[in-house]
Symmetry: C2
Subunit: 117 residues, 2 copies
């Protein structure tokens, strides 16, 4: 599966009884997202990556584009905007863990960044 392949998958409505993915289940996705890391916050996994830019304005512009992707998918990340850097974190709040949707959104962010550079 190509990088674009994951980015092009559909986001599905995540019901409250959906189980979060186990680490063994998202291993394959991570191979397609080499710059992303699983970070643990309060015992819950989050999919996280930092992107670098040449200014604050460029970083904020990227934040806005990721915000657009999030609004379209109705799935929202945490976006830390700093001078020359945006850190994006995905997780699925209502299942308290990671869903396939999070990896798809991560791949869409990478595609956005690749087009940006």
């Amino acid at each position: 599966m190509s990088h674009d392949g994951l980015a092009g998958k559909s986001i599905f409505l995540c019901k409250p009884d959906t189980k979060p993915l186990a680490a063994s289940e998202y291993e394959e996705f991570l191979q397609e997202l080499p710059d992303w890391n699983i970070m643990m916050y309060d015992g819950l996994p989050t999919l996280e990556r930092a992107y670098t830019f040449k200014s604050f304005a460029h970083a904020l512009a990227f934040t806005n584009r990721v915000g657009d992707l999030a609004e379209i998918a109705n799935h929202h990340p945490a976006l830390l905007t700093e001078w020359g850097k945006v850190t994006v974190a995905w997780w699925t709040h209502n299942i308290k863990g990671l869903h396939r949707n999070d990896f798809i959104m991560a791949a869409r962010c990478d595609a956005l960044y690749h087009a940006w550079e």
Copy 2:
């Protein structure tokens, strides 16, 4: 000094030999900024506040307005945008601590938020 008073002060160029403020020196500023807290990260103080909003889009719009303030002042915060929430953090990178500028920018953010509500 009123809240607006601090927000209306000028931002000064911060030279590398400028000393960061000691806690006793910014106590007065904090009295005007009751919703802000001093957070320690890697031993360095940061001035931080979270603002709440009714949606992701509203939070991102506020992030952009704070970004505008930052660009105008050429002094940039860290902005964590989440669904319905923006956490703003100010500090002065080149003096590894807090400068009067940080408190002025915090007051400007509060003024922006008050006009928003």
